[in-house]
Symmetry: C2
Subunit: 364 residues, 2 copies
């Protein structure tokens, strides 16, 4: 089964249903419906279960009749706000649009859930509703980051948990590799462990241990372990998946995003500083647009929750319609590839291999 | 004494002698002598003790007679290479140009040492030769990172140690504040603790504890604690000093540097992609030069080692003459401000305050 991971068997194609949390996000229901419409126009196979307040969404969908024909609206008038604590949402979240969006995946009505809501609450509810995959101790959030050449690297964990031991990092490698294969089409993803130097003796002891564990599963998980990588390798084309604990990953991603924003600001300054600079900007418009397109964070919008019985795509809280549509596109791609089942199979192989290895080494 | 930290008293000016490790670095002795010459031309008060192989440096200085008159060459034919392990250098490093450069600071012949060599070895030798300041458990490496507006933020630790507990982070705050005051002229630096969210309950428990400790010393250390900051705040103009453990800081800095490099590459692509884009680049030349000047990593080159009896500036290993000159400029500024003594006084106050507070709370 696992060796067929990259093939789409004939006859397995079907109407793909995504479950959308309509109420999360800072940009409001308009941005979410706007994103759904962009995606629906591009993808004729896409269908939605939309969870949210029908008083809000019925009139909104009325303005988008083509989209409306592909949407089944499920009334949910309770909302998880950006400021709700995950622990409170776990206790009182039943009946929220976020909970119901996850429940539709759990019940098999939809393949992947998409939410723009509060990340901590979404992860807590995902663990409660979908449950962790057998063999996974800590689920992870994975994101894509541009390579210096073409394509993207997968980074995880981005903050599902603040800690990760060697075993967690090994599972992240297996899950990240499966994501790179199904989401990005990389046949045998190259895995690096994030550290503060590339020499074997550098950094925390659990990182070297994680490296050995990843190496031991590389054939069964169809991945290649390439050793330690550094923060400066986030865009390195010689790696495909970078694994780290959620604290470090969160800081690294935000440091990268912050720097991109810093330079966008500098660039804007440089082309508005003098009247001559403004004139130059007119000549340079096509080049600047090309650049801005490449570093537009909305076009790669979607953290994927890995390690659950089901796939959840977390869109940025402030995403506009373009951003929401990018998250939906990613969810659709993962749904069509049968990602959830393939990931589960890989993790199961990884877990049983390790168990066998441990049993054998305890016999030896 | 500490309250006079920002003033240069009349009559205290003197010939400033910097101690240079001539043999470290990937760009060779030419880059180091080149950087010294740039700085010597700009600063008539600057003098150098240069440690390195006289067979190499005597002919090199012969080509730069004006610089040569300000340099005292000290023969040291042993070199610490980029690949030497810190533990080996501690055992066998005596007589290397790196060791001798630090020894000159220890002996009071020079005020600040500058090296382009192996960071781990330089920190290990600095701790051995200069010794840690009383009250400092973990020394730190601090760097400057551009604000979105003007000026720079101080980040530390960048990898002197992979761990930091709450007490270490509090000392980093005191040391970083002193650096911001003497190196950047910020009277009452605002301190943030790096975390994965700004709410009080986020992240590791030692970070909240560090926050409380920093708050408790803010008047005596003349700083303002502003709470948690995130990776995206590295360029935030509302903070001046960001403290974190050396693992996280190293990853954050390199993630930022890597992203800057990524975007420089994209920018180059955008302006060479078509003949029209190349034409636009000619019109945009002044703007692009302005931008490239602002994001040129060579212009802010120098990690400062804090928490030792003496100041050490670590230049980037691959620094060219421009980069070396930036590191020397920083060393000169810190030397002239009497930074080492002022930092020591601040740390002593911080340590004794805490001791008093602990004694009082144990009595209560």
């Amino acid at each position: 089964m696992a060796t067929n991971e990259n093939r789409t068997s004939p006859g397995t194609e079907r109407k793909t249903v995504l479950s959308i949390d309509g109420m999360g996000g800072d940009a409001g229901p308009e941005a979410i419906v706007g994103g759904m419409e962009i995606s629906a126009k591009i993808n004729p196979d896409i269908h939605f279960l939309l969870h949210g307040d029908s008083n809000v969404f019925t009139p909104l969908l009325g303005k988008h009749p083509i989209l409306a024909s592909r949407v089944e609206l499920r009334d949910a008038d309770k909302v998880v706000s950006m400021h709700d604590k995950p622990s409170a949402v776990v206790r009182n979240g039943k009946g929220t649009s976020m909970w119901n969006a996850l429940q539709s995946v759990k019940d098999g009505e939809a393949t992947v859930a998409v939410s723009c809501g509060n990340t901590g609450a979404l992860m807590a509810l995902s663990m409660l509703v979908l449950r962790k995959l057998p063999g996974v101790n800590r689920p992870a959030i994975a994101v894509l980051w541009p390579k210096t050449t073409q394509g993207h690297n997968v980074l995880l964990d981005l903050g599902a948990d603040i800690k990760a031991d060697a075993d967690d990092l090994m599972k992240y490698a297996i899950m990240g590799a499966s994501y790179a294969r199904n989401g990005l089409g990389v046949q045998r993803p190259r895995i690096g462990v994030l550290n503060i130097g590339t020499e074997d003796h550098k950094g925390r002891p659990e990182l070297a241990e994680a490296g050995e564990m990843i190496q031991s599963v590389q054939d069964l998980a169809d991945l290649e372990y390439i050793g330690f990588v550094e923060g400066s390798d986030m865009s390195n084309p010689d790696v495909d998946v970078i694994v780290t604990d959620g604290f470090t990953g969160n800081v690294a991603l935000k440091a990268g995003e912050g720097t991109a924003k810093l330079i966008r600001g500098f660039l804007k300054d440089a082309f508005t500083h003098t009247p001559l600079a403004k004139l130059a900007a007119i000549f340079a418009r096509a080049s600047l647009r090309r650049l801005s397109h490449r570093i537009d964070p909305r076009r790669q919008n979607g953290g994927v929750f890995l390690g659950l019985n089901g796939t959840v795509v977390k869109s940025h809280g402030g995403a506009d319609a373009t951003g929401v549509s990018a998250a939906i596109k990613l969810a659709f791609k993962l749904a069509q590839s049968g990602f959830s089942e393939k990931l589960a199979a890989r993790v199961a192989i990884g877990a049983s291999t390790l168990q066998t290895a441990e049993q054998e080494s305890s016999k030896a």
